[in-house]
Symmetry: C2
Subunit: 347 residues, 2 copies
């Protein structure tokens, strides 16, 4: 099955490049309300499913036991830009659990936020694990591990070692949350290793969208899990800077629309959203893996089509789904926009 | 027409993402020796055609008049990384023409080479036009303008002003070189504005490949133009650092294979090559515009299939066409490789 072209990059009046992909919009009963392209092919959700992976952080009691704040819970769901405020917030989560960044197993990379990266370079320092875009998620995993260690009377630092491994008690909790929300049989799903070294599972786009419909509504989840999902959504809506960062679409959309949209981008052109007012989950996968100029355009077009917006909000989203491209001299050279096929399908 | 998938990104044993595109391999008579996908759709060659745009620099006599060196001629064909050696070489070209960077109209951006960018950030300076990846090409344009000004007894600085405009005498020379090498009717072709503000024209991939077959062989070009093409190819082979930079595929391939391959990447997934021993031109366009992990993989596979290589050289190319992907912890997480469809077609 050839997926439809969803995004066009225009230059000189013609389509210079384009992006194909698939979109699943699903309700909490698992009914596919709308689909474009192949929504059954297994895809790796990557960082788009961090909110699902953060459910044990709340359900385990760790969030309450350690007094985690909204920014900290948002950071647990985040692919952050490596700003010093992000790094400090991850450090704070670890400190509340009585540990520090030396337990993190996500690896280090330079901040993806350009200003943060240049500031770090100017300071003459090198990035550490706290700057990794996944440091909040990993700090959340460590908090879960500390709760499990407490319950078993074990030393926390020793207990959490190897938490990224599929069979570690922490990762088993995380995988179980992924399994019950998506309804996928993860024991028999393709399994890869993510950028931050934890397992990532191949699930159908429709299953991923179902998980987000469940996050949106709580339907189909045990009461404690439904409450955890709602708490995480509300934390991100209250502190959207911490789920991504300056200039990033996730942050900007949730700053603007608050709890009406929970959206989260992942590597390789995956983008998911929970739309609580509509009771829907959305999952997008761009064939070629492009986030910034493909998955984001499609997500904006989906939000425009599905969420009740006023004119100003519609204009705000349009700046993501139909944008002018300028060159280094600030001259308009083209546009990036949702394809006619996508607009037509979304209605 | 749906282009075939040419590159697979593999994770967890499945294809996570993939890139479609088209390939044209053409001889100097314009015969299509091999094609995959749509080679007739107009595409913007972008920076892949810089060697064609540099022909007037040699043909006009500017290269001789100003005593341009191999690194300077290579830089005129370059999308360089913004290393200080690149910036200094562009400055040297301008100085030889009696001018300086204030005449450049390419705009400024941070170096694409990571080490160069961080070094500039650490120094507390901001990037200038000399750091623009196109500064060598633009310095070449300025040299052409200075020759034209001399011939007309005009002030050079005043004459070159506005050289990026389609109707400026310099750009008319550049466009004429593009027209005669590709055989395209550029007056009636789609015209866009490139990242560095000069015009870019939509030409069929087969026409672009033909231009590179002509660069490879000189066949079909006037003697002066054929000599200019050969001189530029030899300059790049002699100084491949200056056509791209540290770690870049163009530089690495020509460091290794010398004059046997002239290859040049462009924005939006375009990649062209001249294969002098085979008398062939190659032009690649990735539908989604991805260079680093799509166009480069395809080009490496084409070179493997078409150029006579020893085993070590074949292994060298294979590192571009079939590579292991590692994460931030250095753990192997997948692979990036020429698709079975591409390998099979190339034979």
């Amino acid at each position: 099955m050839t997926n439809p072209d969803l995004v066009h990059a225009i230059r000189g009046g013609i389509v210079e490049s384009f992006h194909r992909g698939a979109v699943a919009i699903v309700d909490a009963d698992g009914a596919v309300v709308q689909s474009l392209g192949d929504v059954d092919r297994p895809i790796f959700a990557r960082s788009a499913c961090k909110v699902l992976q953060a459910l044990p952080l709340v359900e385990s009691g760790a969030a309450d036991a350690f007094g985690l704040t909204d920014p900290e819970l948002a950071l647990a769901c985040a692919s952050h830009g490596g700003d010093e405020r992000h790094a400090a917030t991850a450090a704070s989560m670890l400190a509340k659990a009585g540990l520090d960044e030396t337990v993190l197993e996500c690896g280090a990379h330079w901040p993806s936020n350009d200003a943060a990266m240049k500031a770090l370079a100017r300071s003459g320092r090198e990035p550490g694990a706290l700057h990794n875009n996944c440091s909040g998620k990993h700090s959340g995993f460590v908090c879960v591990g500390c709760m499990l260690a407490r319950a078993q009377g074990r030393d926390a630092r020793e207990f959490v070692r190897g938490y990224v491994q599929p069979d570690h008690p922490v990762m088993r909790e995380v995988t179980a949350a992924l399994q019950t929300t998506t309804g996928a049989d993860l024991a028999n799903a393709p399994r890869g290793t993510d950028g931050c070294s934890i397992p990532t599972f191949g699930v159908a786009l429709r299953q991923l969208a179902l998980a987000f419909a469940r996050v949106a509504t709580g339907h189909g989840l045990a009461p404690g899990r439904a409450q955890a999902a709602q708490r995480l959504r509300k934390a991100v809506a209250a502190a959207p800077f911490f789920v991504a960062g300056d200039g990033r679409m996730d942050t900007r959309v949730m700053e603007r629309l608050g709890e009406r949209v929970f959206c989260k981008v992942g590597a390789e052109g995956v983008y998911c959203a929970a739309l609580p007012e509509q009771g829907l989950g959305v999952a997008i996968k761009i064939d070629d893996g492009n986030n910034a100029r493909a998955a984001e355009v499609v997500m904006a077009a989906v939000i425009e089509a599905r969420v009740r917006l006023d004119d100003a909000e519609r204009g705000f989203l349009r700046d993501f789904s139909d944008l002018t491209l300028k060159n280094w001299n600030g001259i308009e050279v083209g546009a990036l926009r949702a394809s006619p096929a996508l607009r037509s399908a979304l209605g």
